[in-house]
């Protein structure tokens, strides 16, 4: 289940982007200027750009990632999610817009400053692991520290710590080709954490793994995040993965963000038919929490059962099936703040099946 309750408390913004664009083509800046008047009509904008031989991989994306939050970018292949991620890290140079890390505009940062930030503030995990085949596990994990010029004994000590953290002790001397996919990605994770980054980027980290291993790695990821409380941008094309891990999700299509919100917000109010189609694969009751759907407690009722606001509806279902007509919802302090009725749960369950 989701690692942190999403009972939205205002948190500090760690990373943000404003109206970010990435155009591919011969003269992206000119095409951008020419197409700007059409920005309201996405379809016409696209055909206009295609006419001049340009494609907008990211089309005006704005988002804010809060401190210690898991922010998931989700979309099908070609939706621009990986490009957006790379624009946030400036691995790809955006055509226009702003990227702010702790309020500092990354697009204005010098090359030297970017190297500095990447060495100390950012960590990234790659879809195909990105392990250097000529280095052992230990050397791979120590690689970012070596780049910083940290002396061998210190960096190996730190690398061993990280290897221990991801549960790969004893494999330090192996080469990547000798490891399974899951093990390789653990190495990738250990490497990305070695410098103690403030912000952690994961680009489809589990997509190349078998379903069973993928689930294990998700659990592992949740365990790590409980310990580390990093600010995370996580890219995936897997809806279930997105809803399972996210504090907040941004769903992308054609380079734009179609809807952004907590899993429950999206599940309860999909912005359009495209997103509703995605939700068919999502067990709604497992995503929505009691606090998301509770109503004010009716007067003169005293619920027989009380659950926490962060309990998902699925946990309430057994109570309801046992004949409890309504369940009370309490906040973190233990005060009963609302109620959920059996009829409401039944209605939500029915919607989820359509």
């Amino acid at each position: 289940m989701s690692s942190a309750p999403s009972l939205a408390s205002p948190r500090q913004v760690k990373l943000a982007c404003r109206d970010l664009w990435k155009l591919y083509g011969a003269r992206p800046r000119d095409a951008m200027a020419a197409a700007m008047p059409l920005v309201e009509d996405k379809d016409r904008l696209r055909s206009e750009l295609a006419g001049s031989g340009h494609v907008a991989a990211v089309a005006g994306a704005s988002l804010e990632v809060h401190e210690a939050e898991i922010f998931v970018l989700m979309g099908l292949s070609g939706s621009g999610k990986s490009t957006l991620l790379r624009c946030l890290t400036r691995l790809i140079e955006p055509t226009s817009g702003k990227v702010l890390l702790d309020g500092e505009d990354l697009l204005a940062a010098s090359r030297h400053r970017m190297v500095e930030l990447r060495r100390h503030a950012m960590g990234m995990v790659f879809q195909n692991f990105g392990l250097l085949p000529h280095l052992t596990v230990l050397d791979n994990v120590a690689f970012p520290l070596r780049v910083q010029g940290i002396e061998a004994s210190k960096r190996y000590a730190r690398a061993r710590e990280m290897i221990e953290l991801v549960g790969l002790r004893g494999l330090e001397g192996h080469f990547p080709s000798q490891l399974s996919g899951g093990q390789q990605q653990r190495v990738g994770i250990a490497r990305s954490l070695a410098v103690g980054p403030q912000i952690w980027f994961l680009d489809e980290p589990f997509s190349a793994l078998d379903p069973l291993i993928r689930r294990q790695m998700q659990d592992e990821f949740i365990r790590l995040q409980k310990m580390l409380r990093k600010t995370i941008v996580f890219v995936t094309h897997d809806v279930q993965e997105a809803f399972r891990l996210a504090d907040r999700i941004a769903i992308m299509r054609h380079g734009s963000i179609v809807q952004m919100g907590t899993p429950a917000e999206i599940a309860l109010a999909p912005a359009n038919a495209y997103i509703a189609e995605f939700l068919r694969d999502i067990p709604t009751l497992r995503v929505i929490k009691a606090a998301d759907v509770m109503r004010p407690l009716a007067a003169d009722t005293s619920p027989a059962h009380v659950v926490s606001g962060s309990a998902v509806l699925e946990e309430i279902v057994p109570l309801v099936l046992n004949g409890t007509p309504l369940v009370g919802v309490q906040d973190e302090a233990g005060a009963i703040v609302g109620q959920v009725t059996a009829a409401e749960i039944a209605e939500l369950a029915r919607q989820g099946r359509d």
């Binding site: 960590g123 195909n128 280095l135």
Partner: protein, 693 residues
């Protein structure tokens, strides 16, 4: 249906038919005005003389430098040869066997033992050591040069295109043509040959280097960037290590290229090595000697290839017996064996020296008489083959059907009724293409029919330029058409048009032979794993053989002349024809073949209607490789008496006319690059039929 018929007379269709029309016009006009049939001599430019003037002004200026280099290299080569020849052969054999065992297990050990025993028994030990010295000196130069060129092309993207073009030139530019300038710079002798070998062997390394670096997975480059690498850190720690396997392949290929060059290099350097033995055997028509020494260089090439490939492949699971030691200890052990050999020779010079002066136990005269006896007994079969190919393939291409079809050979003459029949068949075929909505095909058919009737040599040059530019335009576009036209223009203006055309038909004939025989073999091998397994080692051996070696059997059976050259070219060029045909046919997915069988295709139908069309891009690439191989073999075939561009280069070598050689070399390169691009473009079009319109 109506629109279909309207399409037949669309402007595009009419335009396409303008091409054969114009060609026919040229042919007719050529009969009246000679300047159309034959490019007038006074229109040519003194390209060769111009190059000579330039060279003469450059060479004296860099001569001091090159003579210093020449001196240094000469000292190194001399001492290396002396060292290797000083080592007793049993020590060398043992050391090589040890390394062979490490690289390829028991099988390679056995191969090394057999090959080296043969070299000792045939009496070519000293020469082999000399050749080895040449290669050992040339390869590091080539590897360093290739490394730097490849790295430069990678780091400076704006020079990548020109550098790649330079690789194309270096690989197709006939080595003969730059032997003369090297001769002028480094003097007659093994050093000029060494430098020629080093230059020739640079491109494979440079290409592997560049492709290794550009093919580093994007993710790994991003890992470098995200960990905050500086560009230098990224190059040293991410990109170069990732490109290492490709670099190893490059070193292997460079070594093979150097080995294949040693015979050619010996033309300008009288040096007692294997290359010289092969060459002098060929020149003296001492077939036994050239055969035995040719076999030596083939064996050296094969074991060098296997050893370098095996060592560089690294930790690969080998079945059977294999060595647990790492590579470095094995090399150290081999060095120790060699050292002990040297010591023992010092300690007991008389005893060991006697061993090293191997005389060879194989009697050359017996080999010679065996070969002559064989040729004598089966001469009539060989002659029949020769005249068959000559009358029905070579002459029609050279002189056209109008010149080649004679009652004595074909049984009839090109009388007006026969010509009319020929024209009618061509027209019918063209109309069929047109009716299918393919006016380009119709135009091609008609043009080809005219070309076949006239022959390549008599084909009017404006028509040739038109035809080539039209083909280039159709497969690739206006830019390439312009380049192709300019290339032909250069051939015309430099006065090398006729040798150029003769080269083309020689290539054409040998490619036709390769496509027929190789295609058939490849097709059979695709269906018969037993045959496939049998062909593989033969193909491997043919591919590792130095080009010169192919002249030996050709000369043995067919004596000096164009036909021997043709056979040598075909032997060399047949491997890609076999390989690509087999690979292309085998790559057709089994599910599709299953579908075909389920639909009730007979094996033959499944072959012709399913497999061959699907394999067409691979087949065209195979054709491309065959053509390239045939072209690179031309200058070497010239040494046995073909009359084409290669012969011009060979003549220039005799006259020490650097300008003529280089001019012919440029025409050569242009021919190769154009044909390569055209066939590649055609293969790409085949692979993506959607872009046809």
């Amino acid at each position: 249906m109506k629109s279909h018929i309207a399409n037949l007379f669309s402007p595009a269709a009419i335009r396409a038919l303008a091409v054969p029309g114009a060609i026919l016009l040229c042919v007719v006009a050529g009969a009246k005005w000679n300047w159309i049939a034959q490019f007038p001599d006074d229109w040519t430019l003194p390209v060769a003389a111009g190059i000579n003037v330039i060279l003469n002004s450059i060479i004296p200026n860099i001569l001091p430098l090159t003579s210093t280099v020449s001196h240094a290299l000469g000292t190194m080569l001399g001492s290396l040869v002396a060292t290797l020849q000083f080592l007793p052969w049993p020590a060398v054999v043992l050391a090589v066997m040890l390394i062979g065992f490490k690289a390829g297990g028991l099988r390679l050990l056995a191969l090394c033992l057999c090959a080296l025993s043969y070299i000792v028994l045939a009496g070519f030990w000293r020469q082999s050591m000399a050749t080895l010295s040449l290669v050992i000196l040339a390869v590091p130069i080539s590897v360093l040069g290739g490394f730097l060129l490849g790295l430069g092309a990678f780091l400076l993207p704006w020079v990548r295109r020109p550098i790649e073009l330079l690789f194309d030139f270096m690989q197709t530019f006939p080595a003969f043509a730059y032997l003369i300038p090297l001769l002028l710079l480094f003097g007659f002798g093994p050093i000029a040959g060494l430098v020629a070998t080093a230059i020739y062997a640079i491109p494979p390394m440079a290409r592997c280097m560049l492709s290794g670096l550009t093919q580093v997975p994007r993710e790994l480059v991003e890992v470098g960037d995200m960990t905050g690498c500086t560009p230098l850190q990224r190059l040293l720690w991410v990109e170069l290590p990732s490109a290492k396997p490709m670099m190893m392949i490059g070193i292997n290929q460079t070594t093979m290229a150097a080995l294949s060059m040693v015979i050619t290099a010996s033309i300008i350097g009288g040096f007692d090595d294997i290359g010289w033995a092969v060459l002098s055997g060929l020149r003296q028509a001492d077939l036994g000697k050239s055969l035995l020494s040719g076999l030596v260089i083939v064996l050296i090439s094969i074991i060098t290839d296997r050893i370098t490939a095996g060592i560089f492949a690294g930790r690969r699971a080998q079945n059977g017996w294999h060595m647990r030691w790492g590579t470095a200890p094995v090399l150290l052990a081999a060095a120790a064996i060699l050292g002990m050999g040297a010591l023992s020779r010092w300690a007991a010079p008389d005893l060991v020296q006697g061993l090293n002066e191997t005389r060879g136990v194989i009697d050359l005269s017996v080999v010679n008489s065996a070969v002559l006896g064989f040729v004598g007994r089966y001469g009539h079969i060989l002659d029949a083959l020769k005249s068959g190919i000559l009358y029905y393939l070579v002459l029609p291409l050279r002189l056209g059907l109008s010149g080649a079809v004679l009652p004595t050979t074909w049984g009839f003459a090109m009388t007006p009724p026969v010509t009319a029949f020929y024209a009618a068949v061509a027209l019918l075929l063209a109309i069929r293409q047109w009716a299918k909505g393919n006016p380009g095909g119709a135009a091609g058919t008609l043009s080809l029919a005219i070309l076949l009737f006239i022959g390549l040599v008599g084909f009017p040059w404006p028509a040739a330029i038109l035809l080539v530019m039209w083909c280039a335009l159709r497969v690739s576009g206006p830019k390439f058409a312009f380049f192709a036209g300019a290339s032909l223009g250069f051939a015309l203006l430099s006065g090398l048009w006729i040798p150029f055309v003769k080269s083309l038909y020689l290539v054409g004939v040998s490619v036709a032979l390769c496509a027929l025989v190789g295609g058939l073999l490849g097709m059979l091998a695709a269906h018969n794993s037993w045959l496939s397994a049998g062909l593989r080692p033969i193909n491997d051996a043919l591919q590792t053989m130095p080009q010169f070696v192919f002249l030996i059997p050709a000369l043995m059976f067919f004596k000096v002349g164009e036909f021997a050259g043709l056979i040598a070219i075909s032997l060399y060029a047949i491997v890609p024809a076999i390989r690509y045909t087999e690979a292309g046919l085998r790559a057709v997915p089994a599910t599709i073949l299953e579908t075909a069988r389920q639909l009730g295709c007979t094996p033959a139908q499944s072959n012709l209607l399913v497999q061959v069309p699907l394999a067409r891009p691979a087949l065209l690439l195979g054709l491309n490789q065959t053509v390239m191989a045939a072209i690179t073999m031309l200058p070497i075939a010239a040494t046995v008496g073909t009359a084409e561009l290669g012969q011009q280069i060979y003549i220039s070598l005799g006259k020490a006319d650097a300008g003529l050689g280089i001019t012919a070399g440029i025409v050569f390169c242009l021919t190769a690059i154009n044909l390569d691009r055209m066939l590649r473009a055609a293969a790409e079009r085949c692979a993506t039929p959607d872009q046809d319109k």
